[in-house]
């Protein structure tokens, strides 16, 4: 890890001023940043410690039916908040399907929004990476790329955004609250993360000093509570990033879909809201047939970026599975394995001496 100046601002305004200086980074829990600093991917000259700033670690239920979540709220605290989990069950399920219990106890809401890609070439300083070093190229293009993007990628970058949390947030149209050098502003989550274009691979639309203070979920986001699921396929049962994931939410009127929200995770450089698929579902009778059509619409523009055509098929199936599960209804209790696409197995406790003959 390189040497850096450690700065503890007393309030948000001081933090913004400090972080606007080039070479600065914000430190909240550090679960992603410290890891990247240890492997030399991030080499900040100034670390601005915002972890103790007051007032940013709470949920506020607003009178218009929306909710505000402070940026320093810990992932576990949000997921286990009873009212929050009942109102936005797919968000709670996504949070609990991510990382480990230790990391969820530390990681913050704001940090989760801005976590960096897990592309191995981004993390390996000996490899070319346009994100880490603009203009150096992309070694993932002709490398190990079976887990890379199938939507919204360019020759500049085929990395994916790793967050689970951001997927239902994108589906529900979360609004990100930012305090910057020029004052306060709100942006929709769909405008927070950038897709690579033909010449660059910018990660977000934030400017130096921009401080995410929190996010809001609009009033209508609460109308999907009864039929909301997050489904995540992993290469091991737990504590792994998604190969593909999906958030599916339905607002039902009997068997008819009044409104729907759909987003796909781990397929692009941002959480991928599937607007076309949502439009396919509106006013239709719920069932596998229309869900298949919606999944087809969601992936109409998908194309492999390497050895990953299977992810398009997988994304289709995970979308259909998520929609079927959402249609069945939000589970009364959080599944033992949140977001697992596999049926629950409540095996009796194995005896400790099972391996003794």
């Amino acid at each position: 890890m390189n040497r850096f100046d450690f700065i503890r601002p007393a309030n948000i305004a001081e933090a913004v001023t400090a972080a606007a200086v080039p070479g600065s980074v914000y430190l909240a829990a550090g679960t992603n940043l410290l890891d990247l600093m240890k492997i030399g991917v991030t080499r900040p000259e100034r670390v601005i410690d915002i972890s103790r700033l007051p007032g940013l670690d709470r949920i506020e239920w607003l009178s218009d039916g929306s909710v505000r979540i402070g940026a320093l709220m810990r992932n576990a605290d949000l997921a286990y908040d009873t009212r929050f989990a009942a109102t936005y069950p797919a968000i709670a399920e996504a949070l609990l399907s991510g990382a480990s219990a230790q990391l969820r106890n530390a990681a913050t809401v704001g940090g989760n929004l801005l976590q960096r890609t897990r592309c191995a070439y981004f993390q390996d300083t000996a490899s070319a990476c346009n994100r880490r070093e603009p203009g150096s190229g992309c070694d993932a293009l002709h490398g190990e790329n079976r887990l890379h993007a199938v939507l919204g990628w360019s020759e500049q970058c085929i990395a994916t955004h790793p967050s689970d949390f951001c997927v239902p947030l994108a589906a529900l149209g979360a609004v990100i609250e930012i305090e910057g050098v020029g004052g306060r502003r709100d942006i929709p989550i769909e405008s927070l993360h950038s897709l690579p274009d033909a010449s660059r691979a910018l990660e977000s639309t934030l400017a130096p000093g921009d401080f995410i203070t929190g996010l809001r979920l609009p009033p209508e986001a609460a109308s999907f509570a009864g039929n909301a699921r997050y489904v995540k396929l992993r290469e091991r049962t737990s504590y792994a990033f998604a190969v593909v994931s999906a958030a599916a939410m339905l607002d039902m009127d009997g068997d008819t879909i009044r409104a729907s929200r759909l987003a796909i995770g781990a397929v692009a450089a941002k959480p991928w809201r599937a607007h076309e698929a949502e439009a396919v579902l509106v006013g239709q009778k719920a069932g596998r047939e229309i869900f298949e059509k919606a999944a087809t619409a969601a992936l109409a523009d998908a194309r492999p970026s390497g050895d990953n055509a299977f992810k398009i098929t997988l994304a289709h199936r995970i979308l259909v599975r998520a929609l079927m599960l959402a249609y069945e209804g939000t589970p009364k209790v959080m599944p033992a394995l949140p977001a697992s696409p596999f049926p629950e197995q409540h095996l009796s406790a194995p005896k400790a001496d099972l391996h003794v003959a």
Binding site: D5, G30, D49, A106, A336, Q345
Partner: protein, 172 residues
């Protein structure tokens, strides 16, 4: 830029001068406070060997900068037993053979202590496995670890029940 933090470790208040902000909680515990029970496995938050209880929550000490912890309270594996009496989770790990080489064990035990205080697993082995997935055991002692967490959970809830009965009697 030297500065100092106050940190309570296993009930002991410490005033620690830091000459370098790069020191993680893990390195502080091991190298400066000589509490080597907390292990360094991956040093990247992937293995859980460095799990400690920070302000009542289990976290990875390797991904926490000590400089951010002024005024905090830490419990490590060294702070669990009361004299020669093992903590119920420690006793259960021995009783259930929840280890082989033992390197991951302090992290497993601290993680289990955190899991039981969080209270989301009940007596469901599937939930225990899921909520212990941040602790890797290369010997593969998972069977015994799961059993130990379940048994310790039962003993702790019995103790709590006995304690509240006792409190009730005292109040009456």
């Amino acid at each position: 830029m030297p500065f100092s933090i106050s940190l309570t470790v296993n009930g002991q208040p410490n005033s620690i001068a830091l000459d370098d902000p790069r020191v993680t909680l893990l390195d502080l515990l091991r190298e400066r406070l000589h509490l080597t029970g907390t292990k360094k496995g991956c040093d990247r938050g992937q293995c859980g060997a460095c799990t400690v209880i920070l302000d009542g929550r289990r976290i990875n000490a390797c991904l926490t900068l000590a400089a951010t912890l002024d005024g905090s309270t830490v419990t490590t594996i060294e702070g669990l037993a009361e004299g020669t009496e093992l903590h119920p989770v420690q006793a259960a790990f021995i009783a259930c053979d929840g280890l082989q080489c033992g390197y991951c064990t302090p992290g497993q035990i601290m993680s289990a202590v955190g899991l039981l205080s969080e209270g989301h697993a009940g007596n469901d082995p599937e939930r225990v496995r899921e909520l212990m997935s941040g602790n890797i055991c290369r010997c593969g002692a998972y069977q015994g670890i799961t059993q130990a967490v379940l048994e310790a959970g039962q003993i702790l809830s019995q103790n709590n029940t006995a304690q509240s009965r006792e409190n009730g009697r005292n109040a009456a």
